[in-house]
């Protein structure tokens, strides 16, 4: 799996990168291949494929990282990147350690998407379209998308590491628009994994039916309420709440800059004892999983909250070095054109003991957020916001009317401490997480979770 760059070339490039000094140097080489297409207005369109390759070289000296990236994987390309990275350094030449190849086992891919004819993928999108429109005549629009991406990477560094990975991800998305007289509503659903086309062999059309169902349900929606109330959050993508509220604040770069509300809180209680949470880059087949991170460190399962206490931050190579701990395998980068930074992989709240029915039955008046369109947090202040894509009122312990236009807003520390029930109905969903201008695939998960009080910002007057 380390076939992109010859080890002898990598050694030479590392030596060149350290020509003007530096305590650490790294070459990250990558080949990206992908295909995608959409169906819109019942037509297959935007059929496209991409082929890119290139490398990023970084040199670290003192507190500074010198980084250069180039297109192409020829020895001359890599040497140019090394020379550019080293250009601003002014110290003594250093010698890298001899490279030692370390084998990694990429996640298994049963059916390579690139071996599946493009016509089959188009056919799959037509199936999605039919499934969505089959939900009723009020489905006015349907858009489906298919995307496959393969990233082969090789990492070599001056500590002697030489390793690589071969990653294939497949994902489909469905978006339905329902219309009834003047009312228009949308519903969306996705299915994705670090797997091949086998992911799509078992009822891929299900997501189209779900998206259409959501849009149809919302046709009967009332404006969302406003104010502070108990909120029950759905399983799966509901986990984006924890991802934003807590996950980002545990990334060690924010911690070390004092730009996280969790700075200095290691070992302290931050939640009720019923809460356990993990970041796990090794979950088989999951969207956020890889065999190694983008610095060559094997991915791992890290418990971040144990019985309500904060137990670990998430580290990449440099932040771990600064705290004198081991990397947790969270050094990720969007591509060879980006520097690795601490990022989540698959982050989730472990299953609890409550059932969703019990949680809801105990709420006199509240809000049920089944799923989110996404969310955002400022880790430094802890302020977060989530757009609810499917939500309902809870009245007298029962889920009643669907609501449109709801947003959840609050502060991380308060909201995390206010989780008073965790459900047993655990599952994972896929997401694309943005940080510092870099997008990476992440998994989020949980069973149903209840927050004692949260601000719902709706449009009801």
């Amino acid at each position: 799996v380390s076939g992109l760059v010859d080890p002898a070339v990598a050694e030479r490039v590392l030596a060149r990168a350290l020509a003007n000094g530096g305590r650490f140097a790294e070459v990250f080489a990558e080949r990206r291949r992908g295909q995608s297409m959409t169906i819109d207005e019942q037509r297959i369109e935007s059929v496209q494929s991409g082929a890119e390759e290139g490398a990023g070289v970084r040199v670290v000296e003192g507190g500074t990282t010198y980084f250069a990236h180039v297109d192409g994987l020829e020895p001359a390309d890599l040497e140019r990147a090394a020379d550019e990275a080293a250009a601003a350094l002014r110290s003594e030449r250093r010698e890298p350690r001899p490279l030692q190849a370390r084998e990694t086992t990429p996640l298994p891919i049963e059916r390579r998407p690139e071996d599946v004819p493009a016509e089959r993928k188009a056919e799959l999108l037509r199936e999605l379209d039919e499934r969505a429109r089959g939900k009723g005549r009020e489905i006015a629009q349907f858009t489906g998308s298919y995307a496959e991406a393969r990233r082969e990477v090789t990492v070599a560094n001056s500590d002697g590491l030489f390793t690589g990975d071969d990653r294939t991800r497949t994902r489909i998305g469905a978006q339905a628009v329902a219309r009834r007289e003047g009312t228009v509503e949308t519903g969306a659903e996705t299915l994705g994994a670090h797997r091949g086309f086998e992911l799509l062999e078992d009822d891929p059309g299900g997501i189209a039916a779900q998206a259409a169902g959501k849009a149809l349900t919302l046709l009967d929606a009332v404006p969302a309420p406003s104010g502070s109330m108990p909120v029950v959050v759905g399983g799966g993508f509901g986990g984006v709440l924890f991802h934003e509220m807590t996950g980002h604040g545990l990334e060690a770069d924010h911690i070390q800059k004092g730009a996280s509300v969790y700075t200095g809180k290691l070992g302290e209680p931050v939640a009720e004892p019923l809460l356990n949470a993990f970041d796990d880059g090794r979950l088989p087949g999951e969207w956020g999983s890889d065999a190694i991170d983008d610095e060559g460190q094997p991915t791992q399962k890290t418990q971040v909250i144990e019985d309500g206490r904060l137990t670990s931050y998430l580290y990449d190579h440099l932040t771990a070095e600064r705290d004198d701990v081991a990397s947790t395998g969270n050094g990720r980068r969007e591509s060879f054109r980006h520097l690795p930074i601490p990022r989540m992989t698959n982050t989730y709240i472990a299953p609890g003991e409550a059932t969703p029915e019990e949680m809801i039955a105990e709420v006199e008046r509240g809000f049920y957020a089944v799923s989110f369109g996404g969310g955002q947090v400022d880790p430094a202040t802890g302020d977060f916001v989530f757009g609810v894509s499917e939500g309902y009122l809870i009245e007298g312990g029962k889920v009643t009317r669907p609501c449109r236009g709801a947003t959840l807003i609050g502060n991380c520390l308060e909201a995390l401490a206010a989780i008073d029930a965790v459900g047993d109905d655990f599952f994972m969903k896929t997401g694309i997480c943005g940080k510092g201008g870099q997008k990476v695939p992440v998994g989020t998960g949980q069973g149903h979770v209840r927050v004692r009080a949260m601000t719902v910002g709706g449009t009801e007057r």
Partner: protein
């Protein structure tokens, strides 16, 4: 003919050679650098070069696309062949046809020589000055999460089998910081930024001071009471909303029934105070270019004027669907993406009131200085939105205490109709695409807090 134009021509020939009826190639080459500083030191220094070509191939009325970084003869040929193959998978679409060539006027001054003239050490000093200015402004300003300087200079060449041919070079740079202030038991963040074509156009002290001022002004912020009241949107927030409106004015969204502006051409959609143009040739505009992403000349289009919706934005495909001509509104995110309809530079016309006068006119309300969650809190099809916000209370026509952790909610078209005044000073903002806007006074908006 430059080397890049030669690559584009070669790609077109290779695609038609591989069976495409028509083909278009978009090639780009970009050099850039980025400096991130923290705590008075350079945290990272990036030097970047990238180049690639994207090929659109037409086979009858079917279109396919392929892109790649390999600009060698064999690489370009393989890429072009993949584009032709992709076209065979797409469905027939009557309106899919290659753009025809049109004369375009050169647009000088898009590339600033100060990018090449300023060495890395000098731009690093610029970023350090941004950080230092903030840190020295006030003892309550306890840190700067990051201060960044970045620039890029890009060459673009386009060619097609129908005779489209053109190239240009444009540069851009920006600097920003995220400042951290502490007080009353909480941390606050503040963004300061500047945009220009080259580093000589940036004012590092002003950027640092803005970040500091924004963070410091938020100390002690509380949740406001829920209410309906006048709201002033500052330039950054107004720009985010202008970007959403620009998205809804794309003919693609309109034709596919996915815009709150569908069926509203020539209708009243805003108050007289809200005037919006798209200008792809504004000398200051970060998105300005002589031609758009498919070689059609950029121009100025009146979108909303006198309260009425004057035009949507069209690329060649969406224009073909209505039997009209493109507004030069095709855009791409580099060679990796198919062209699609998008605003270039959105320009909200300034009014006559200073910020003080806007606040006075608001009387009792809220100044919103930041919004969060736009990608999930706005329904682009219906225009219904509810987003997180922070800012300042306006009391008796003047700024009072800071507020946070509330939402502003409403519907885009209704909001435009409620704009009662625009500020006199417009500013370029990198949110919502590329937008130049003054602050806006909205007569009434729903605020949800405690």
């Amino acid at each position: 003919v430059t080397e890049l134009s030669a690559v584009a021509r070669r790609a077109v020939e290779a695609a038609t050679g591989a069976g495409a009826g028509d083909a278009e190639a978009y090639a780009s080459r970009e050099g850039g650098r980025q400096v991130r500083v923290h705590g008075g030191e350079v945290e990272s220094l990036t030097a970047a070069t990238q180049s690639g070509v994207g090929v659109r191939a037409w086979s009858g009325n079917r279109v396919g696309y392929a892109y790649g970084t390999d600009l060698s003869e064999a690489g370009v040929a393989a890429n072009a062949a993949r584009a032709a193959e992709a076209a065979a998978v797409a469905d027939e679409d009557t309106y899919a046809a290659p753009p025809q060539p049109a004369e375009f006027e050169a647009l000088p001054g898009l590339s600033d020589p100060s990018i090449a003239e300023w060495e890395t050490g000098r731009v690093a000093e610029l970023a350090l000055t941004v950080e230092r200015t903030a840190l020295e402004s006030d003892p309550r300003l306890v840190g700067v999460e990051v201060a960044v300087y970045a620039d890029s200079d890009e060459q673009v060449a386009i060619a097609s089998s129908t005779g489209v041919a053109g190239e240009y070079e444009a540069s851009s740079c920006y600097a920003y910081l995220q400042a951290l202030a502490e007080g009353e038991g909480a941390r606050e963040t503040g963004l300061g930024f500047g945009l220009a074509r080259g580093p000589r156009g940036l004012d590092p002290e002003a950027i640092g001071a803005e970040g500091a001022e924004r963070a410091l002004s938020m100390i002690g912020a509380q949740k406001p009471q829920s209410r309906s009241c006048p709201v002033v949107l500052d330039e950054t927030v107004a720009a985010s909303f202008a970007g959403l409106i620009g998205g809804g004015l794309s003919a693609k969204a309109v034709q596919r029934g996915r815009s709150p502006f569908a069926d509203r051409l020539e209708a009243e959609v805003a108050s007289d105070a809200f005037v919006l143009h798209d200008d792809g040739r504004d000398p200051q505009g970060p998105a300005s270019a002589p031609f758009d992403a498919e070689g059609v000349p950029r121009r100025r289009t009146a979108l909303i004027e006198g309260g009425r919706l004057g035009s949507f934005l069209y690329d060649t495909y969406s224009a073909n669907r209505e039997g009209r001509s493109s507004t030069g509104s095709a855009a791409r995110q580099g060679y990796r993406s198919l062209p699609s309809v998008s605003a270039s530079n959105l320009m909200v016309a300034p009014g006559s009131l200073s910020l003080e006068q806007l606040l006075a006119q608001a009387g009792d309300g809220v100044l919103v200085t930041d919004v969060a969650g736009l990608h999930s809190g706005v329904n682009p099809v219906t225009g219904v939105f509810s987003v997180g916000a922070s800012g300042r209370i306006i009391r008796d026509g003047a700024l009072a205490e800071p507020v946070r952790e509330f939402t502003i909610a409403g519907e885009l078209v209704a909001m435009l109709s409620a704009v009662s005044a625009a500020g006199a000073e417009a500013r370029w903002v990198p949110f919502g695409g590329s937008v130049c806007t003054p602050p806006l006074l909205v007569a009434e908006m729903a605020i949800s807090g405690s």
